[in-house]
Amino acid sequence: MPKRKPKRKPKISSKTRWAIRTYVKQGISANKIQKKLQSQGLGIRRKVLLAEVRKLRGKKKKLHPEKYIRGDYRKRVTPKARRPKYAGRHVAVYRYARTLKHRRPYSARFEFYGSGKDLGKAVRLALSGIVPKWENPFVECSARAFLNNPYKYGERGEWVGKPNIES
């Protein structure tokens, strides 16, 4: 199982942040700020610097940043939307479900990840009669998030067997 990554250090030191703030107030461009920082031995990654400058100038985050990446590089990384939320093992709770609103059974599935204790509690909560919503029947979430707010991911209902449809 992949090991949990250690907590990252902040990308910008307070000294660098203070310097950037001063330069931005003076109206200096990001290129020049980068050169000045480098000459002072405070150089940081350009991506981080641009994000900080954008934040200080009160501009919004750039939408669709991947469109600025060269095509063949872009293909190497899986788009964020297609990446799973958590790559480790999940405990799946699945079957058909129905709620008061939707009496017709629909295929539903919870996939929980997290520590053993949280997983146990989350699974027990799901077994006690909380089923995924009809609008979003396949839910992948951390066990703790589910425990904190179960009605965000599911609603009251019951788990049922495979429906026998008679026509």
């Binding site: 079957r95 997983l119 788990w159 067997g161 008679e166």
Partner: protein
């Protein structure tokens, strides 16, 4: 048209992307072992365990961690060569979900799958699989009480 559904306990299973898991439906013990041995040889797996889920239904879990692409490649290779329709269906379902799942809890009349055969190294993916299986079984046991 009428829907007849009975209240039932949900099924608990184990899902991940990096362990090769195969679901053999309508396979004898011998033929399941044959395919598991073949996969071990072809895909350089270190070991495997076989679990019997019900009569003529077996699960196989392999020990070496693989990428999702390789995982699908193994399942597809077995499905095509064995010409097994349920295995094709299993492959399609795993592709849709983008992760592979095996059942751990009981399902209706079927008991939870039990280990019937072990072969080779069991220290990596199988060890983790069994650890999570134990956790799920404990939850099921407490729920029954």
């Amino acid at each position: 048209m009428a829907n007849q559904t009975l209240k039932a306990e949900p099924i608990l299973g184990l899902t991940d992307r990096f362990t090769v898991k195969l679901d053999f439906d309508n396979f004898s013990f011998k033929s399941t072992r044959y395919w598991a041995d073949l996969v071990m040889e072809k895909f350089r797996q270190k070991g495997y365990i076989m679990l019997k889920s019900s009569e003529k239904h077996y699960h196989v879990v392999f020990d070496r961690y693989v990428s999702w692409d390789e995982n699908l490649s193994v399942i597809a290779w077995v499905a095509i060569l064995s010409k097994s329709v349920p295995l094709h269906r299993y492959l399609a379902m795993q592709c849709i979900k983008m992760s592979s799942t095996l059942r751990v809890s009981p399902k209706g009349d079927k008991p939870s799958p039990r280990i019937v055969f072990r072969y080779g190294c069991q220290d990596h993916a199988i060890k983790d699989f069994l650890r999570y299986r134990k956790l799920i079984k404990r939850i099921v046991k407490e729920e029954v009480r």
